[in-house]
């Protein structure tokens, strides 16, 4: 027999009270763990999507705005590039120290060319890069597979009045329309997409690159570090991280997290108050028992320890079971919040258990002090 065992025995004496004491913690930790797990899954989903879809770094030639005019007459302005990008720059990008974090480096070449009587923009891209860099493209017809084949943006197809299997003329060459892109709402709707080398030849720039899209693996990736390294390798280039999408999605997740933690905090506060009220009532009910223990030599700290052990057992059981329930709820409910089911997150359970235990013990602090302060004579009224 020791204090721990004495506390354990007392729990089974008042099962319903023990359950009620733990209920607040159980619900609070359940909510906390469910929200934490779902938030983690959502953050993971955002990162996965960023990794899967598109680039997060853009490399373009550094340009300067040049004003043109004569005297007071303004002729507008033009952008002047300091240096042009070439195919050689792709090797420089891939040689950075953080190259293991690069998922893809895709060169693009843009040019305007007369196409069957219409002046349209051509986008050159290696056919093999399309799947990874533009996974949202949906093609009616076939993908690019050979030189001389093109894809038409939806608006370009209307302008040229061409569809899959048709042909267009440009630069004295005939190109076969392999497919037509479904509308994307982006600029490529009005473009002609062709193999990188075809477009370079069309523009007479066999090694030219208009810009690079770089996709870094973004789970905890140091995008800023990668941007800086590429900037060092390509001093004539402007390297910028595409942040808007990341930040808007993160903002949504953060908002959800704040709301969730707010709800958890309210439930946990109620849980803490439930512990406080029930343990205070428990002390009141057990005044005589506490008096007996004091009479047989229990010190104040022994009484406090007894109550802390009792609540500790309850809080531990409630936290662990609440954590498991929260995890299962998160696992089942993750798809409702746009996250994949994935696996059970252990970290929220551990953190939740620690919070639940702390909360239980915190709620016991005032009642335990009150119990310890009880005079043995007041406690044993029959004496």
């Amino acid at each position: 027999m020791n204090i721990r065992k004495l506390a354990w025995k007392n729990l089974f004496r008042r099962k319903s009270r023990a359950v009620f004491t733990g209920l607040g913690i159980f619900l609070g930790i359940g909510t906390f763990v469910a929200i934490s797990s779902i938030t983690m899954r959502m953050e993971g989903a955002v990162r996965d999507k960023l990794d899967k879809f598109g680039a997060n770094i853009l490399v373009t030639p550094r340009t300067e705005q040049l004003s043109l005019g004569f005297g007071d007459i303004s002729l507008g302005g033009t952008q002047v590039a300091h240096a042009r990008l070439t195919g050689e720059d792709e090797r420089s990008i891939r040689s950075i120290a953080l190259s293991d974090r690069l998922r893809m480096v895709v060169p693009y070449f843009l040019t305007a060319a007369d196409t069957s009587g219409k002046n349209l923009v051509w986008m050159g891209i290696r056919p093999k890069d399309i799947v990874e860099s533009r996974p949202w493209w949906k093609v009616q017809g076939a993908e690019l597979s050979a030189p001389g084949e093109i894809l038409l943006g939806s608006e370009a197809a209307v302008a040229l009045d061409k569809g899959p299997g048709g042909t267009v003329e440009s630069g004295g060459k005939t190109f076969r329309v392999a497919g037509v892109l479904q509308p994307t709402g982006e600029k490529e709707d009005g473009m002609i997409i062709a193999g990188l080398d075809d477009v370079r030849l069309l523009a007479g720039s066999p090694d030219g690159v208009t810009f690079f899209e770089v996709a870094a693996l973004c789970k905890d990736c140091p995008v800023e570090g990668i941007v800086a390294e590429i900037g060092t390798k390509l001093p004539g280039a402007k390297v910028s991280a595409i942040r808007s999408v990341v930040e808007s999605r993160k903002a949504a997740v953060d908002q959800f997290r704040r709301l969730g933690f707010g709800v958890s905090a309210i439930v946990l506060t109620i849980g803490g108050l439930m512990v406080f009220v029930t343990i205070m009532g428990n002390v009141q009910e057990r005044t005589r028992e506490i008096g007996i223990l004091r009479a047989v030599g229990f010190r104040k700290r022994s009484i406090r320890a007894l109550l802390f052990w009792e609540t500790g057992w309850i809080a531990l059981a409630a936290s662990v079971s609440g954590g498991i329930l929260g995890s299962v709820a998160a696992f089942a409910g993750a798809p409702l919040f746009g996250a994949e089911r994935g696996r059970i997150e252990v970290l929220p359970i551990l953190v939740g258990t620690a919070i639940g235990l702390a909360l239980g013990l915190l709620g016991t602090l005032p009642p335990s002090r009150r119990a310890a302060a009880l005079s043995p004579t007041e406690a044993i009224r029959s004496l």
């Binding site: 223990l293 004091r294 047989v296 229990f298 010190r299 029959s382 004496l383």
Partner: protein
């Protein structure tokens, strides 16, 4: 030689408006191995005296010392430790914890001791055997008779082998035959050298002691030595509680 000494002890409850004096200027000296029986009407101050003697509270005036140690020098926690080692309590209503077995109840005072579980269990078995409860160690209080519960309470009081036993109407809830058995147990413990202070209303219990102290209105009205009678012959009283 004086073992327990009360010097001009007074005990007042309440604040200015509602002051109640439970004990007033009580001086008493009890020698080691004495068996003092404290009697008195309700409200005479018996309970207060027992609380003070047991170190459950400290007097508002005067000084109490046990074995030469002034109780007022202790902090509340140290007093609890002293109490645990020096004084065993036996209550009228047994005050056993209902969710613990007889053995576990006896082990309760040892819950704060740094002894091995095996030592504690052995001690509990030995004590229960000494009070005649062999074979009933694993019964809950609800499965024991009143007399058996009181025996468990006595065994619990003896856990730390205290030199002093304080008993508050230990036979108050028992029929006369069972009460006699409990008193026999006290006589046996007295014979083994324990100092016993017993509060009682029952005049037959007085005869078991070596000294009778009568309290009246918070003061000692009589203090007489007695010749102990180990088996008082008293008229049969119908049983009030199971024994």
């Amino acid at each position: 030689m004086s073992f327990i000494t009360l010097e001009n002890v007074s005990m007042t409850y309440g604040s200015n408006g509602t002051r109640t004096t439970a004990l007033s200027g009580v001086s008493l000296s009890i020698g080691e191995g004495e068996y003092a029986v404290i009697t008195g009407e309700s409200g005479s101050g018996k309970s207060t005296l027992l609380c003070l003697l047991g170190g459950l509270q400290l007097p508002t005036e005067g000084r109490i010392s046990i074995s030469g140690t002034d109780l007022s020098t202790f902090s509340a926690d140290n007093l609890a430790g002293f109490r645990g080692r020096t004084i065993g309590f036996v209550f009228q209503a047994y005050h056993l914890l209902p969710y613990l077995t007889a053995r576990e109840n006896v082990m309760v005072p040892m819950a704060i001791d740094k002894k091995s579980s095996r030592e504690k269990i052995e001690r509990a078995y030995t004590l229960l055997e000494s009070v005649g409860l062999s074979g009933k160690e694993e019964r809950l209080p609800s499965q024991l008779s009143g007399g058996e519960c009181q025996r468990v309470a006595i065994a619990r009081a003896l856990v730390h082998d205290p030199p002093i036993l304080l008993a508050d109407e230990p036979t108050g809830n028992l029929d006369s035959a069972t009460g006699d058995q409990i008193l026999d147990l006290f006589s046996k413990l007295h014979g083994a050298g324990k100092t016993i202070l017993m509060v009682t209303h029952n005049r037959w219990n007085i005869e078991r002691g070596t000294r009778s102290v009568l309290l009246r209105d918070g003061r000692i009205a009589e203090d007489n030595p007695l010749r102990p009678v180990h088996r008082a012959s008293r008229p049969a009283v119908p049983a009030q509680a199971g024994g």
